[in-house]
């Protein structure tokens, strides 16, 4: 009986192997080779040298920190805003269908287009925000030319684009919550805050987790927004791991090192996911112990 199970799963497994395991294996092999413009693009085995280089590469660690910072900030903002928007769009308002459509528009825009748009919105001194500020007699904000500000500007642009995505997922989740639960709560005299905390949020948890997972995966691999908005600048302060890997492969033609950077960031992500899963399990156990 067992073999029949495997037989039925074989096509899916083959697909997974071909699209996931094979490239990963190839990258692992590539990270032990020198394959660059200096070897005329022919692979030459060099052992663990690329990994030592990665370990001593300050830029890789700086980009790791910057990618994590960007992801944590943008995903938190998007989850909070997305929840608020979803709760709002779930209310029986007039013109709700129109509102829902409009709120989805940013998500429908290609990232490069919206990043170019934001580049002009953030323009110093001609962007609309800085024009408004100068009209009010205030100093311009160097959105894209000060390292301490630019990464926040990038988070803002990202939140603008992907909040609708989170809102859409959560809105779908909200509509699965039976209305009689809310009626019962209202009869018992629950405040809106209690209803939110005791009914909406617990029942929305699976959807929150899915949204979180999707967004984290996308944010940790952020490339197009950064590439168009800042090119990694100013002073390298917005360069992400994906951008660094891209530079190594496509600009520098250093495929061995690019593969190592990709695997390095993959390993860091795996570590983080593992830690998050452990924390999740412990928190559940802890909650269980309390009850």
């Amino acid at each position: 009986m067992r073999w029949r199970l495997w037989l039925l799963m074989a096509p899916a497994l083959a697909l997974l192997l071909a699209t996931f395991a094979a490239p990963l294996g190839h990258y692992l092999w590539l990270s032990t080779q020198a394959q660059s413009v200096l070897t005329a693009l022919k692979p030459q085995p060099i052992g663990v040298e690329q990994w030592l280089r990665l370990f001593n590469d300050g830029r890789f660690w700086q980009d790791t920190w910057q990618t994590l910072r960007f992801s944590a900030a943008s995903v938190s903002v998007e989850m909070l805003l997305g929840l608020a928007v979803a709760l709002l769009l779930d209310q029986p308002l007039r013109g709700r269908a129109l509102l829902r459509t409009i709120s989805l528009l940013p998500w429908a825009l290609p990232t490069t287009v919206m990043a170019l748009g934001w580049r002009w919105i953030f323009n110093d001194p001609y962007g609309p925000i800085n024009r408004l500020l100068s009209g009010l007699g205030l100093a311009a904000i160097p959105f894209l030319s000060a390292p301490s500000i630019t990464w926040i500007a990038a988070v803002g642009a990202d939140a603008w684009k992907t909040t609708p995505f989170v809102a859409l997922l959560l809105l779908a989740g909200l509509q699965t919550i039976p209305a009689d639960l809310y009626e019962a709560a209202a009869l018992e005299g629950a405040t809106p805050w209690q209803t939110l905390r005791r009914i909406t949020l617990p029942l929305l948890t699976p959807y929150l987790l899915i949204a979180l997972l999707f967004r984290l995966a996308q944010a940790l691999g952020v490339f197009d927004l950064i590439q168009v908005l800042t090119g990694g600048g100013p002073a390298g302060s917005t360069e992400s791991l994906a951008l660094y890997a891209y530079l190594n492969a496509m600009r520098f033609l250093d495929f061995g090192y690019s593969a190592t950077v990709m695997l390095g960031s993959f390993a860091i992500l795996l570590l983080l996911c593992g830690m998050a899963a452990l924390a999740w399990r412990w928190s559940l156990r802890w909650q269980g112990g309390l009850r």
């Binding site: 200096l38 693009l41 323009n123 110093d124 001609y126 000060a146 990694g232 002073a235 390298g236």
Partner: protein
């Protein structure tokens, strides 16, 4: 028997005639990848070529607008090993990298030893690498210093003069800023710095050794830093590319701008507020050092994987001919590379700025010819950008840059 022989002769004859005809009628397809603006500008030339060369079907693939995006597209196709292109319109800074990767076919056997003889001084740079010719230039591009003729009598020739003129114009409230240039973390910043570096008497590489902590390099970086700190250049320059710079200058908010020749056409459009109020010259320099102009030409390279090399070379000769360059200048204002085109009386009458462009081209300096140039430049513009944002003092940044560049060249065996 005789009849049989006759029949055989007739058969063989008609067969070979048919085969010969078939071979003659075989149309060779040639595909060229160009950045979008050039693909548009060469449209007339391409149809003229197809009319006069019935045995070749030339088609142009319209690439992206942005320089590096074109390279990404080309590289993706080359990596797959079966590129659909025969010719590539290449930026000067790509040539050594593509040649070292083995993607290009040397042009010397096709064009002979005197291929570059007709090129204007400055345009011949950056086509050969490692003793072979890899590219033939179609259009020249050089960095220029634009200045406002309505604000001053003559352009500054030294860094100190530029600062003095800017200061007095800003003090009198005639412009918001003195000088705008490309300070974003990207290739354009390397081009800007190269001009200053030569203007202060320095060099990027000397005998394959980086010279970026030399007194001249430090002076150039300090000067950039001072421009921003003293408010002659807006702090926003740290994220300015060519379009942003042009916007500030075109709005009348700056007295000087560093940009490429395309800005000349933009500034002289009928609806431009600065029409007739602008002139250009070469970059400022310290006394005794050259007024340098970073060369950024575009040229055709033949791909090693092309199956139609002879036909592709015919296309290359046609599109880079004096006639073609003349048309591109008359219709689209592109700067030619051939001396004979620069000296064409008809063109000079139509486009008086051509003479000044030729002079600027003669002052051309080249970015290092190295297969690892992209890394070298990445180190440079990243580090300089931290100076511009004020995050690192110039001496620290240049020392760091020097040691990083040394390490890069050491680990890569030096530029060949």
């Amino acid at each position: 028997m005789k009849r049989w022989a006759l029949l055989l002769v007739a058969l063989v004859g008609s067969l070979s005639l048919g085969l010969w005809g078939l071979a003659a009628a075989r149309i060779e397809p040639v595909t060229v990848l160009m950045p979008a603006p050039f693909a548009v500008a060469t449209r007339d030339l391409v149809s003229a070529f197809n009319r006069s060369h019935p045995h070749i079907a030339l088609s142009v693939t319209r690439g992206p607008m942005e320089t590096e995006a074109v390279s990404d597209l080309a590289i993706s196709s080359l990596l797959l090993g079966n590129s659909p292109y025969d010719l590539l319109l290449m930026d000067v800074s790509w040539t050594p990298k593509y040649a070292a990767a083995g993607w290009l076919e040397p042009l010397d056997p096709w064009l002979g030893p005197n291929a570059l003889a007709d090129l204007a001084p400055g345009a011949e740079l950056g086509n050969a690498f490692d003793g072979q010719l890899w590219r033939f230039p179609l259009l020249a591009d050089v960095g220029l210093l634009y200045w406002r003729t309505d604000l001053m009598e003559a352009p500054p020739r030294t860094p100190a003069e530029l600062i003095a003129i800017s200061h007095s114009l800003q003090r009198d409230g005639r412009v918001a800023w003195g000088y705008v240039w490309q300070g974003r973390q990207y290739e354009g910043l390397s081009c800007v710095f190269l001009e200053l570096l030569h203007g202060f008497g320095g060099e990027w590489l000397q005998d394959k050794e980086p010279q970026l902590d030399s007194p001249a390099a430090l002076a150039a970086a300090r000067w950039m830093d001072d421009l921003v700190r003293t408010g002659i250049t807006p702090a926003a320059v740290a994220n300015m590319g060519e379009p942003e710079t042009l916007r500030v200058f075109e709005a009348g908010d700056a007295a000087f701008m560093r940009n490429w020749p395309y800005a000349w056409a933009e500034l002289n459009k009928p609806d431009s507020p600065l029409r007739g109020k602008v002139a250009f010259t070469t970059m400022v320099s310290e006394a005794g050092h050259p007024h340098a102009a970073t060369q950024g030409s575009w040229g055709f390279s033949l791909l090693a994987g092309s199956k139609h090399k002879a036909a592709a070379m015919e296309v290359l000769r046609f599109l880079t001919s004096a006639d073609a360059q003349k048309q591109l200048n008359l219709r689209w204002g592109y700067t030619p590379t051939r001396l004979s085109v620069f000296e064409d009386p008809e063109l000079l009458a139509a486009n008086p700025a051509l003479e000044d462009l030729q002079e600027a081209l003669a002052a051309a300096v080249l970015r290092p010819l190295s297969p690892v140039y992209a890394q070298l430049s990445d180190l440079l513009y990243r580090e300089l950008n931290t100076v511009i944002t004020g995050d690192r003092p110039a001496p620290t940044a240049m020392r760091q840059l020097q040691s990083n560049s040394e390490r890069l060249l050491r680990s890569s065996g030096g530029p060949r």
